[in-house]
Structures are given as C-alpha cells and as structure tokens.
Amino acid sequence: MIRFDSVTKGYPDGTLAVDNLSLDAPSGQISVLVGPSGCGKTTSLRMVNRMIEPTSGRVLLDGRDTASIEPAELRRGIGYVIQQAGLFPHKTVLDNIATVPLLLGRSKREARNRAAELLELVGLPQTLAGRYPVQLSGGQQQRVGVARALAADPPVMLMDEPFSAVDPVVREQLQNEFLRIQAELSKTIIFVTHDIDEAIKLGDKIAVMRVGGTLAQFSPPAELLSRPRDEFVAGFVGRDRGYRALSFASTGPLPLAEEPTVRLGDPLSAAREREKDGWILVVGQDDAPLGWLAAGGLTDEQAKGSAGTDLLNLGGTLATKAGTLREALDAALSSPSGRGVIVHEDGRFAGTVTASQVLARIETRATRLREGAIRSATGVCS
C-alpha cells in the first residue's frame, strides 16, 4: 500500500502544489489521480519516488517512510512510465528495457533475456529488439516504456499520463492491454491522467483533485459516478455520468430473442424469405455476427445474387452476454434493425435484445439502488 499521510508541497512564493493530501492507494490495485491542470496530481505522484520532496507530511510504502530510503535505491524498486515514454534515444529497445535490471547489478545476459520476455508481454515482436526509439511508432514506444518499468518486477508502478500522447485508437488498445497485464501481475499502481474517461476505465479507485492540490473525492468509479461528493466532482465527472455508470452494471440474464440468420455467401433469396421487419443478420462460418442486411428492400433481380460483405450495414455494436448494461443498451440503440446483437464470450452469436428490454432491466436495477440509498441515508440520520 502507498500511503500519503498529510502530504503538502509548497513553494517559496507561498503557492501550494499539494495541500494536506491523505490517501491510501491499496496494494495490487490501480489508483488514479485525476483533475484539471494545476491540481497537483503529477507533483503527488513524484513525491512517491522522491523526484519531488514533500514540504511536510510523509509518503509510506508498505509502512516504510520513503524519506528514509536512499533515492536511487527507492526508485529502482518503483516502475516509472511517463508521457511519450521518455525512452533513452541512444539505447536500443532491448537495452532500454534492461535498464533497471542492469542498475540492480544483474548480468547483461540475464537482463537482456528478461527484456526479451517483457517485449513479448507487452505485445511487441522480437524483431524490434535492436531498433532505436525513434524508429518506433508512438504506440510502440509507449509499450516499451511499460516494459521498461516492469523489467525489475517492482511491486509498485507510477504512471504519469502514459497514454495521452497517442491517437484514440492506439490509446484504447494500450489501455486494454494494460488492464490485461495488470490482471496478470497485480501491481500497486498510481496512475495520473487528466482524462476522466480514462480514469473511470482503468481505476479501481479514483482520486479527484482540484486546483490548489486538495483531494475532492477518493472513491471507486461506480460510486464517483453515482454519488459525486460535491459540485466540483459532479462537474468534472461530466454530464452523461448516468449513462456512463451503466459501464459498472452487469447485464445479468437478458431475455435473448431468437434471430433468423444467414451465412455470408448464402443466396439472397433465402435472406429475403427469412428477414424480420426488413432486416436479417449475417454471420460468418464461425457463427460470429458480421452485419445486418436490408433484405426487405431487395428487388427480384438483386435477390438472385448472394449475401456479400458489400451489402452489410456495419453500424451495430456488439455486446457480450456477460457484459455491462451500457454495452447492451448501446448494441440495441446502434443496431439498424433495432435489435441489439448479443454474443457469447467466444464471439458466437447468442441472440438479440431490444432497447426497451435493456431499459426495463436498467429500471429494475435503479429502483433497487434507490431503495438502498434511502435506507442508508435514513440510517445515517438516525
């Protein structure tokens, strides 16, 4: 556990970057520090590895005061990832990753073997091992940055906006892989971002900080969305928080409807016979849904052909059976047929739901939550 114990960082001109911060970042979990620029989130992060020394208060790592540990030694035990990766331009990918093991006195061979393993863990091909950072894309550099931080297998990781310099598609990939790696390794992570969506996606707990370096709220994401403590947090979390909170609600058993399907390449005449309300779902050889076909609008002439990918409407999103209410609702709302496509974990088609069915489920859940909230509120009052 990383404990901030009344930590303050002030500057000689009297401004406070961090003002009396106390919070416990639990072991094996991701704690996200989020807030607008100037809220002291990066300063707080850097006080953990003593890149910045607090003016008062203490930072404790598993109960040990970091001020009592020699900085270089402390830092070798803490993985560190920053924006744009901060790779050493004069070292190859492999040598960048091997940095901390070498500092810890491992042999060059051992450090490089370890680096090669990590390359694989972060999803990079071994062919990149001998490249220099400038020869990599932004996303690849960021992966190398994560691999380098993990190289000495530190229990604690500090990540300062590691994914903010890459495009949204790559960012999402990196976030998903980061979560996959974390599920495997269970590091104690402090993650700084200014992006509340990223915070909600990655955080087990989220600390919202406000300008002036004070902590506004430290809660799990679902609670942050459903019960923001004040105006500032509510505003920062955003307008569509009601919808986003559905990301944390699992669908439970949905009333899946049977849906007629055709396979890619089947004759269109078959599609026209079996369509429902003008639409039919096309699946691949492996039963994975590929897209909707507007079979109701086919002329006799067109119906002589076969179902090809060029005819498919790809607008609908997919939701998994064990997914969240947000995914299920989105699948229904985005489907051109109005029937949301639900798939099994392995991607095979399972059935469809309508938006009203998902909404009914949301209503039931909301009612339950409201009753719970009233009970706990009256419990507090009495």
């Binding site: 050493f88 331009p89 004069h90 500090l158």
Partner: protein
C-alpha cells in the same frame, strides 16, 4: 607539377620526419585538450555560476595570437624555445579553451526529461552522467572536436616561425629561396592532414553514436 615531385624526392627524408612531427604535434593536443575539457566542461555545466566566468576566460585564451603563445609559454613553463613541448602546450590550451564550452553545451543539449527519467529509473548522479548524459552529448562534442582538430593542424605551421621543426618549415623554405614548390607542397600536406583528422573524428563519432544515424534518417 614536375617541380613539386622533384622537390619531394630530393627532400623526402626530411619531409617524412617533419610529417611525423606535425602529426603528433597536431594530434596530441586534441586528445589532451579533450581529456581536460571533459571535467571542466562538466563543472561549467553543473554549476551555473561557473559557466559565465569559465566560458569568458576561455574565449580570452582563444583570442591570444598563437605566435605570442609560442613565445610566452617557454617563459612560463621554463622550457627551451625550440622545445616542441611548447607547441603541444599551446595547442592543448587552445583546444581546451574551445572544447570546455562545447562540452558544457553538449551536456546541456540533453533534454531535461531524459535526465529526469534516468533519475526516476534509479540512476545515481554519476550513472546519469556516464551512461545517459555523456553518450547523448557525443554528437555535439564530436562536432567541436572536429573544429579544434582542423584548426590545430593549421596552427602547427605557425610554430615553424619559432623554429620548431615540422612541415611548416616548407613555407619558410619556399619564402627563403623564392620558390613556390615547397609552399604548395606544404599546403597539400597540411590540408591532407586536416582532412584526415576530420575523417577520423567523424568515424569515431559515428562508432560512438550508432543511434544518431537512426535519429537523422
């Protein structure tokens, strides 16, 4: 052309001896100057207060005419006026004066965030300097060393005025006998030596910075 060849053949033994002397008179100061400039350049970079005075003092040293230097140094060092050590000492001082600033600039050219990352990974101050900052400063330092080496090669010729026996003697000889051949020959030798030094330093710099090619392409 023929005349040059004849002169070269007639004086070959002497010219060969002069060439060797010129080579070491030009090369040794570059190495010695660099070795001295590295720690001092680091000091000038590390301590901001030292940077201004240091760099100004070195600029002044660099403006002292080489002839004056060759004449004054024997007094200061207690050496004989014809001793080649005077030339080595003078040129070392010039190289040093030029490179202190280059080394300081080179160390300062390394981005602050790269150094901060190095610190955050757990490099000690010394490890940061040796395994991150210095390697990254090599392109800038290498460029400075090229300038110093080429200017050294030509400054060596001036030393012939005070009688140090090296290729500069060709210019004196040409002047004395009113012949162009030794002068042109001397010019060819000095240009060749300067270019050879330049090439060697470029090659060494490339070998030390395989990553730099990747940055450029």
């Amino acid at each position: 052309m023929n005349e040059l060849w004849t002169y070269l053949e007639a004086n070959w033994t002497q010219i060969r001896g002069w060439t060797l002397t010129t080579l070491w008179l030009a090369a040794v100061p570059v190495m010695a100057g660099l070795v001295l400039a590295l720690p001092c350049g680091w000091l000038a970079h590390r301590y901001r207060w030292a940077h201004g005075p240091f760099v100004s003092a070195m600029s002044i040293v660099y403006t002292v005419p080489s002839l004056v230097m060759f004449l004054v140094l024997p007094e200061l060092l207690g050496t004989k006026i014809l001793d080649p050590v005077n030339v080595v000492a003078a040129l070392t001082l010039y190289t040093f004066a030029l490179l202190v600033r280059t080394v300081a600039d080179g160390l300062a050219s390394v981005p602050a965030h790269t150094l901060a990352t190095a610190a955050a990974m757990g490099h000690t101050a010394r490890q940061q300097l040796l395994s991150v900052q210095l390697p990254l400063a090599v392109p800038v330092i290498g460029a400075g060393v090229r300038v110093a080496a080429v200017s050294n090669a030509s400054l060596v010729s001036v030393a012939s005025v005070v009688g140090t026996s090296q290729l500069g003697q060709l210019f004196i000889a040409g002047n004395n006998v009113g012949s162009l051949a030794p002068i042109i020959l001397g010019l060819v030798f000095f240009v060749t030596i300067a270019l050879a030094f330049d090439l060697i330093i470029v090659i060494i710099t490339r070998l030390l910075t395989p990553w730099h090619k990747a940055v450029a392409s």
